[in-house]
């Protein structure tokens, strides 16, 4: 059962490519993710790959090796890779095994990953247009 590259979710976010890996990531899915990412990088020229692992069940040494290859290949195509959402149990296991994810930054959450790239939620400013009548009245009375 081949996982075609199209079956791995890659979401374009400005100049970032978000790849949320889910569930039990078998070898075919890992390879499909690798090819998928590289294909999208070629097509859209994203500068950053965001690998979110919060849905991933197990990270063994082989999958880690695939992720390292992904990061290295992405770098050759001008993109850096950030890993987010690694569960504490997985982090502890990798540390215990002595496995390191080379060539990529690791952050705790997707928010942090985006923040590091300068993408944050825009704060509401006082001069922002108020479309909601209730909000307008509240502002007046505050």
């Amino acid at each position: 059962m081949e996982t075609a590259p199209e079956n791995v979710t890659c979401i374009r976010l400005w100049d970032c490519l978000l790849v949320p890996l889910q569930g039990d990531v078998d070898d075919l899915t890992a390879e499909a993710a690798l090819s998928s990412v590289l294909l999208r990088l070629q097509q859209e020229g994203c500068r950053n790959v965001l690998l979110d692992l919060s849905g991933v069940g197990t990270l063994d040494s082989h999958l880690c090796a695939v992720l390292v290859r992904l990061a290295q290949s992405a770098r050759m195509m001008g993109a850096s890779t950030v890993v987010s959402g690694m569960r504490p149990e997985i982090a502890m296991t990798l540390e215990a095994m002595g496995v390191r994810l080379r060539g990529m930054n690791t952050v705790a959450t997707l928010e942090e990953a985006l923040a590091e790239l300068g993408i944050t939620r825009q704060a509401e400013t006082a001069s922002a247009e108020i479309n909601d009548d209730d909000a307008f009245v509240q502002r007046l009375l505050a």
Partner: protein
């Protein structure tokens, strides 16, 4: 593709007893069938001794000559009188190709959930299972991964056995000098660090890895 589950040493001892009278395959079939009937009857995984023995008697009757049936029945009854050793829970997953790893991980996850093993310990076991199962698929072509736990799940044992060509450079791997393309020395070094107890026997006729995880 089947996952073999045996509960309780009674089933194992019944298997041994039956093998004295019928072929190995028939003994397995009888035992598995009797176990499943008993479980269906009781609606639980663990079944009372009498129910299992009764099912074993009826299941084995088909395979035995009339003269031998009584003999086997009394042998089976004798098993119930033996001092009950600590019951074990065992799951065995055959591994042939990389696609079987998913089943191994799933079975392991289910077992951990059933035993109430969570968090870091569960993750260690799951990862170790993935590593050793992968080695079987990659290098040996065929093998078996089994998990067993004592009844209070204080000790969990994972074994991976195959009849492959063995690991010729195991000493190099232990010394951390071997780096395969994956950069992990076949994951063995990692697994050695994860498990509380690690045993590996390898030779040209096959390899057996035994990992022990202890819950404190």
């Amino acid at each position: 593709m089947s996952v073999l589950v045996t509960t309780g040493s009674l089933a194992d001892r019944a298997l041994t007893t039956l093998k004295r009278h019928v072929s190995g395959i028939n003994a397995s079939v009888i035992t598995q069938h009797a176990l499943r009937s008993a479980q269906k009857q009781c609606g639980t995984e663990e079944v009372p001794t009498e129910v299992l023995l009764s099912e074993l008697s009826s299941a084995s009757a088909m395979f035995l000559q009339p003269g031998v049936r009584k003999q086997v029945q009394s042998e089976l009854l004798a098993l119930a009188d033996d001092a009950q050793s600590q019951s074990t829970f065992r799951v065995a997953v055959p591994i042939r190709v990389e696609g079987d790893l998913k089943l191994a991980r799933l079975s392991c996850r289910e077992l951990c959930q059933k035993l109430g093993v969570n968090g870091f310990l569960a993750q260690k076991i799951l990862t170790a299972v993935s590593e050793v199962a992968r080695n079987i698929a990659k290098y040996a072509g065929e093998g078996l991964v089994t998990f067993s736990a004592d009844s209070v799940a204080r000790v969990i044992v994972v074994t991976a056995e195959d009849k492959g060509p063995g690991i010729p450079n195991i000493d190099q791997i232990y010394a951390g000098l071997y780096h395969s393309k994956t950069g992990m020395g076949r994951g063995i070094l990692g697994v050695k660090k994860l498990a509380d107890d690690f045993d590996l026997v390898t030779g040209p006729k096959g390899t057996t890895v035994t990992l022990t995880f202890t819950r404190v």
